[in-house]
């Protein structure tokens, strides 16, 4: 069964421990220019930041409150990036993570165009740049362990487990507690994601895109590509037919002219 992570944003204190654990486990460099914690305008996903914690100042019930949103790859159930990769450099594993295989990558960056969450980033400063994104610590997940970021959280924000069970858990939490928004982010967005979020403030105020459909984006490509073989073959037959028909017609009209002369 595919694993997932349930993120309860009401519990996040914005400490950024998860971002440190991510860098240590994945051997990503720290840089002052690329902070992993702070307002959304500063703390951004980059080739070196596979996860960030964004601070949001929000008006709630006539008072200003702080809410913190951890961002990383959501590991879609039916990932647009993987469907868009023409060299299979991005693949969804049955355990849940969407993994990048650098040796297959051509560097076309179509995955960046395809991802509705703008997660894949690029190593713009490298001579031979690669795509870079959260791998959900797939080697840990394979062994049944939680991703590095999840395992270090001091505030109990995350639950790691089977996605389907987490979804039920999330539903029961938001059903019981009236403070929660009656929506689970990741349940349906772009066909659903392995990471699920619950929150007590609307998701769009935390920088989540809420205007996405529920259809996996690969559907749009598939509905176009599925006609390719039929079009290729029938177009070839039509063209061959026209070729011989018009050639013969020209020959006949030439002959008719000659007869009249």
């Amino acid at each position: 069964m595919a694993k997932g992570v349930l993120v309860d944003l009401t519990k996040c204190i914005g400490c950024g421990s998860c971002t440190v654990a991510c860098k240590l486990w994945n051997d990503k460099k720290f840089s002052v220019e690329e902070p992993t914690v702070g307002p959304a305008a500063i703390a951004k996903l980059t080739a070196n930041n596979w996860t960030v914690v964004q601070h949001n100042e929000i008006k709630k019930d006539n008072e200003t409150v702080w809410r913190f949103a951890k961002k990383q790859c959501l590991h879609c159930q039916d990932p647009a990036c993987a469907s868009a990769c023409f060299a299979k450099a991005l693949q969804k594993t049955k355990e849940g993570p969407v993994i990048y295989y650098p040796h297959l990558c051509v560097g076309c960056r179509y995955c960046m165009i395809a991802c509705p969450f703008n997660v894949p980033k690029y190593e713009w400063d490298k001579a031979f740049p690669l795509v870079s994104k959260c791998q959900m610590c797939s080697t840990k997940v394979d062994k049944g362990e939680a991703p590095a970021c999840v395992s270090v959280c001091p505030a109990g924000v995350f639950q790691f487990g089977e996605r389907e069970k987490l979804l039920q858990e999330a539903k029961s939490i938001i059903a019981k507690d009236i403070n929660y928004v009656k929506d689970i982010y990741g349940e349906q967005q772009a066909g659903g994601t392995s990471w699920l979020y619950i929150s007590d403030v609307p998701f769009e105020q935390l920088g989540f895109r809420t205007d996405l459909g529920t259809v996996p984006l690969s559907t749009y490509s598939h509905n176009f590509l599925k006609y390719t073989p039929v079009v290729a073959v029938s177009w070839g037959i039509i063209l061959t037919g026209l070729y011989h028909y018009t050639k013969r017609r020209n020959t006949i009209s030439e002959e008719n002219k000659n007869v009249k002369l």
Partner: protein, 374 residues
């Protein structure tokens, strides 16, 4: 002809083109050695820029004259248009070679360009584009073999000549598939591309526009080449081609209007924002006015046809640019404007194309050939 040596006339304009081409080659080598960050202004918000937008998407569309000609002249046997066949197909071949060069420069792991030939990401629209563009470029090189062997390696000429009908038909199927799939690339950007351009019909818009830009490019090209080489294509020939294109522009316009109604986005057309303005310019100057020119007396003159050609080509360029830039800007943070190096590469590649065109025209039978092969 074989007795003559190879010739290449030198003129001040050609010296300028050689300078631009040299700069381009220099920047290309620098880029391949250092990556994309130093040379381009691309960033995480704008992973695709001028090279993909102009050199690839626009380049392929403008090279649509090749398969347009192949259909009209070689499959439908409209021999009155034979006079432009070779030059149109040469332009197309050069266009595709430049597209390949532009793509090669744009991919980060350029030494890995062959990977999709063995690692089949068949769920990707780009996979279809990659295969079809590669195959079609190969087919076009083989098609050029018929012209090439008139002068070099003459003993092979019969083989190429006999292979032409098959090459022509295969050389129409591939562009039909990839011209549409270039638009199909953006199907997956449903949540990013502005609804004036995003549509499930975008593959068909790309396909039809690449077809009707064919005669427009032929009008532009034959005017320019006609002046340079004192070789005038009869106005009636150009007008006939332009009219074929005109009917496809009417089809395109009708499909556009249907699509806007069907998706209920007419309010966006007249919203008065950047997107609506660019969309209206594209449709008015790139489609509606050229249709009026083609089906009126204005297309009886060379200058009328030249203006028609420029408007349609410009409209298709603007359409592709709108898809890549204007339409994506709304959902994209950050900013992008091509660096001077990106411009110099795009301009330099065009310069290389013009120089090679001139060389081929001056050394092979392109503009003047009467022989009608099957």
């Amino acid at each position: 002809m074989a007795a003559q040596g190879w010739s290449f006339r030198m003129t001040p304009i050609r010296k300028l083109l050689i300078l631009l081409a040299t700069i381009c080659v220099g920047v290309c080598i620098f880029r391949l050695a250092t990556g994309l960050g130093l040379v381009t202004n691309l960033n995480d918000e704008w992973p695709w820029g001028l090279w993909i937008g102009f050199d690839v998407l626009t380049g392929v569309a403008l090279a649509g004259g090749g398969y347009f000609t192949a259909i009209v002249v070689h499959v439908l046997h409209r021999h009155q248009y034979h006079i432009i066949a070779r030059s149109a197909m040469l332009t197309s071949l050069l266009g595709y070679l430049l597209v390949m060069a532009g793509l090669f420069l744009d991919i980060g792991q350029w030494f890995n360009f062959w990977r999709p030939f063995v690692s089949w990401g068949h769920t990707s629209v780009l996979f279809e584009v990659f295969w079809c563009v590669s195959c079609y470029t190969t087919v076009q090189v083989l098609e050029f073999g018929e012209i090439f062997t008139e002068r070099v390696g003459k003993k092979w000429h019969t083989i190429f000549k006999n292979a032409m009908p098959v090459l022509m038909i295969v050389g129409i199927i591939f562009p039909t598939l990839h011209q549409s799939s270039l638009g199909g690339l953006y199907l997956i950007a449903v949540d990013k591309l502005y609804p004036l351009w995003w549509s499930t019909l975008i593959p068909y818009f790309f396909l039809i526009s690449s077809f009707f830009v064919g005669p427009a490019m032929i009008c532009v090209e034959s005017t320019l080449a006609g002046n340079a080489y004192k070789h005038k294509v009869p106005v009636e020939v150009l007008r006939g081609l332009a009219k074929i294109g005109g009917w496809f522009m009417v089809l395109y316009l009708a499909l556009k209007l249907f699509d806007l109604s069907n998706r209920n986005v007419w309010d966006l057309v007249f919203a008065g924002n950047l997107e609506s303005t660019m969309f209206l310019i594209e449709l008015l100057f790139g489609v509606i006015i050229p249709i009026l020119i083609v089906f009126s007396g204005m297309s009886k003159s060379r200058s009328g046809l030249f203006i028609y050609g420029l408007l349609v080509s410009g409209g298709v360029i603007l359409n592709r640019m709108n898809v890549v830039f204007t339409g994506m800007s709304g959902k994209t943070g950050g900013s992008y404007f091509p660096s001077i190096w990106e411009w110099s590469v795009s301009i330099g590649l065009v310069a290389i194309g013009v120089l090679v065109y001139c060389f081929v025209v001056e050394n092979f039978r392109i503009l003047e050939h009467e022989e009608h092969h099957a």
